[in-house]
Symmetry: C2
Subunit: 407 residues, 2 copies
C-alpha cells in the first residue's frame, strides 16, 4: 500500500541543505509503487504543527533542479525542541496529523538539535506501535556531528571561508605599512570552519599567519607574543579566529567587551571577539588594525559551493529514503570514509539517539604551533570535501535561485 513522505528542514541554513531536500524528493518520486506524495513542512516541525506544509511532488522538474543549487532552506526552518516527555499531547496531535495525511516516512534535515527531534519521534512511533519510519539527514556548516566523517554543508562553507580569506589576504597586503587584520569566523564550540582558513595560504609562510580555535584556551598575553613574532616576519598579518574562543576560565573573549557595550541610546552594543582583539592589537602595538566578521554568508553563500558537498548532500537525502523503504528508523544517514586518496565514502545508518545533542570537537592533534596553526592531517581530511565547482544558473548577470511563492 502506498504511503506518503513528509520532509522538513531545521536549524541554520547551509549552501546544500536544499540538495538533501532534492535527494529526498527525487528518490521518493523514483518509488512510485511505494510512495504517493512527498510533502514538505514549511518552517520545520513548528510550522507543520501549525498546519503548514506543501506538496513537493507537484513541483516542476526545472524548479526542483534549481532548488538543488539554491542556498538556505527552501522550505523555511525553525529552532524548535519537542518536549522531553513523550506523553505530552503534542506527540499525539502530531501523529494524528501524520495518520490523516497517510504519512509512512518522516525525514528531517538538520544538525544535532534537529536529530533530537528525529530521536523523539522515532521513539514515540516505536513505543506506540506506529509504522512510520523516522530518519535524520545531517546538515551543519559546523561539522560537529559525531559518528559521521563530516556533515553536508561543511565542505561548501569551508571552501567559501578559505577562498574569502585568500581574497582578504590579497586585500590586506596592498599597503606597505604594518597592519593586522583579524577575521572572525563562525564556530561557538568547534573550530572546524576556522581551521579551513589554513587553505587560504598560497605558499608556505603565507597568511593567515595565526589561527585560533575554541578547542584551545585563548590567552591575551600569549596572543600578544604571537602577534609580535608575526609582525617581525611580515608587515601585513592576517589572523583567523573562531567566534567562540574563550580563556582558561571559560569566559568568551567577546565578553571582554561586555562592561561598556552601550550606545548613546543606552542600548547594549554586542561586539564580537574580532572587535575586541582589533582594539587590543591597535592599543598594544600602535599599528593599523581592523577586524572582518564574515557573518552569515559563510553559511548561506552559493558562490563557492563545493560540487562534492552538493552531491554528497543529495546522496544523504536519497540514501535516507532508500533506507526507510527498507525498514530503517531511528537512524541518521552518516558518511563513512573508506579512503582519502582516492577519496571514497559511503552512507551508513547510525543510531540517531547517539548523535543528538552531542558535539564533535576539532581533533587536538591537528592543532599545531602551540595552538596557532593547523597541521597536515587536517589538509588530507578536508581537501576532498571542497573539490569541484557546480554550474551556476545565471540570468541578466545575477545568480538565479528557487524560492517558495507566497504561501
Amino acid at each position: 500500500m502506498k504511503k506518503n513522505i513528509i520532509v522538513g528542514q531545521s536549524g541554520g541554513p547551509t549552501a546544500v541543505i536544499n540538495a538533501s531536500l532534492w535527494g529526498v524528493v527525487k528518490e521518493g518520486l523514483a518509488h512510485r509503487e511505494e510512495i504517493g506524495k512527498v510533502y514538505g513542512m514549511v518552517h520545520g516541525i513548528e510550522g507543520f504543527m501549525a498546519g503548514r506544509y506543501l506538496d513537493l511532488s507537484a513541483m516542476e522538474e526545472e524548479e526542483l533542479d534549481l532548488m538543488k543549487m539554491t542556498p538556505a532552506a527552501y522550505l523555511g526552518s525553525c529552532r524548535y525542541k519537542l518536549p522531553e516527555d513523550l506523553s505530552d499531547i503534542c506527540y499525539r496531535e502530531l501523529f494524528e496529523k501524520f495518520r490523516q495525511m497517510d504519512i509512512g516516512y518522516f525525514f528531517y534535515i538538520g544538525g544535532n538539535d534537529s536529530m533530537d527531534t528525529v530521536s523523539k519521534l522515532a521513539r514515540y512511533a516505536d513505543s506506540n506501535g506506529i509504522d512510520i519510519k523516522v530518519v535524520g539527514i545531517p546538515k551543519t556548516i559546523d561539522n560537529d556531528l559525531i559518528l559521521t566523517d563530516h556533515t553536508p554543508g561543511y565542505g561548501s562553507a569551508a571552501k567559501y571561508v578559505a577562498s574569502t580569506v585568500r581574497e582578504i589576504v590579497l586585500d590586506s597586503s596592498v599597503y606597505q605599512q604594518k597592519a593586522v587584520t583579524i577575521v572572525e569566523l563562525m564556530g561557538r564550540h568547534a573550530g572546524w570552519l576556522t581551521a579551513a582558513s589554513v587553505l587560504a595560504r598560497k605558499h608556505p609562510g603565507d597568511n593567515p599567519l595565526l589561527i585560533y580555535l575554541p578547542e584551545m584556551d585563548f590567552d591575551m598575553e600569549q596572543f600578544a607574543h604571537d602577534v609580535e613574532a608575526a609582525l617581525e616576519k611580515q608587515p601585513n598579518v592576517i589572523i583567523c579566529i573562531s567566534e567562540g574562543i574563550s580563556d582558561a576560565r571559560g569566559q568568551f573573549i567577546c565578553e571582554y567587551a561586555d562592561a561598556a557595550r552601550l550606545d548613546t541610546f543606552g542600548h547594549k552594543m554586542l561586539a564580537g571577539c574580532g572587535k575586541v582583539l582589533e582594539n587590543f592589537v591597535r592599543d598594544r602595538f600602535g599599528v593599523k588594525a581592523r577586524s572582518v566578521e564574515l557573518n552569515v554568508n559563510q553559511r548561506c553563500s552559493g558562490m563557492m559551493a563545493s560540487e562534492t558537498d552538493i552531491e554528497e548532500a543529495a546522496m544523504a537525502g536519497s540514501w535516507g529514503v532508500k533506507a526507510a523503504l527498507e525498514g530503517a528508523t531511528g537512524i541518521m544517514a552518516a558518511f563513512f570514509r573508506k579512503n582519502s586518496s582516492p577519496y571514497e565514502i559511503e552512507c551508513r545508518g547510525v543510531d540517531v539517539s547517539l548523535v543528538c545533542n552531542q558535539e564533535k570537537k576539532f581533533p587536538e592533534e591537528w592543532i599545531t604551533e602551540h595552538g596557532t596553526d593547523i597541521g597536515e592531517g587536517f589538509l588530507d581530511y578536508v581537501l576532498p570535501l571542497i573539490q569541484g565547482e557546480p554550474e551556476r544558473k545565471m540570468e541578466n548577470g545575477m545568480p538565479v535561485y528557487a524560492y517558495r511563492k507566497a504561501d
Copy 2:
C-alpha cells in the same frame, strides 16, 4: 627612439585594477618599436620614490594572464598625496629617476586622489618641458569619478553586493519570526554601491524592502516609520544602508554610538551605522535584529567579478597607452556611453585636472519612495555593467591568484 613605461596602482583594491594593469602591459608590449620595458612601481608613487619597482615586461605570459583575473593590487598600493607646491624637491627627484630609467610614459591606475598625482606630474612635466606623457586610468568601486559614465571596479563590486544581498535575503527568510536584518555597504559619500542592492530582488516586492543612501538626510524617526510599515508587509525585513548615511545636521549615524564605545580595556569600540540601527530596531520594535557589514570583500572579491568590468578595465589600460603614444598627456581614460540597449561604450580622454578631488553623487532623480528605494532609471544604467562571468582558474578546489614573489 624607444622609451620605457612606468605604471603604478594607487588607492583601495578592486576586483579589476589588475585587469587595467594587464591592459597597460599588453599594449606596451605590443608596441615594440616605440616601447622598451614596462616597469611597475611597487606600492605606487610612494614605493617608487623609495626605489621600489619591478620589470613587468619580464613576466611570463601565463602569470600575466593570471594577474588579469586576480583581485586587489598586484603591484601593491599607497595612499600618498604629492605636495601642492610643484617646486618641492620631490618632483625634481622623481623626474630625475624617470630620466635615469628612460621613462617616456607614466600611467597611474586609481581613484580621485590618485588622479591628483597624475594632474601634478603632468603639469610638472609640461611646465618644465619634459617629454613624459602622464595618463590616468580610472579605478574605484565607489563609481564616484566625474566625466566618465562609470569606473572600472564598480561593475564587479555591484555584482558582488547584489548577489551577496540576494543570499542574505534567502538566509534571513528561513524563520517565520519577525526579524530585521541591516546590511551595511561601502560608500562614505556616494551611494552607488548601496544602490546596487536593488538588483538583489528576485521579484517585485521582494527584499531588500528599504535602501538608504548618503545622498539623502537620514532621520531616525522617519526610519522607525519606514521599518514599521515594512514589518507589516512581511515578517523578514532586509534593509541596505551606506556606511556614510548622516542626519540633516551632517552627523554620521555611526557617530551616534560614539559616547560609549569603550571596551573593558578602556579602548574605543568603533561601531558602524549598521550596529547603531540594529540596536535601535531591537529596542523600538522588540524584534530580532542583526546587522551584517559586508566589509572588504565587496571591493576585493573575484567570486562575482563581472566579465564586462574586467574587459572594460583592460580596455581603459590599453587605450591609455595608445593615447599616450599618440601624444596625449594630462588626461584620464574615460568611458562614454553611446547606447544602453544594446550597450555600447567608447574611451575618450578627459582633462585629469577636472576629475581629481571631485565626487560624482548618485543622481537624486533615481532615489524614490521618499529616500527608501531606487528607481528604474538606475537599472538601465547598471545592468550592462554586471554582465558576464569570467572563467576562473581553480586548483585543488581553490581559486588561483597571481602574487608578487617576495621583493
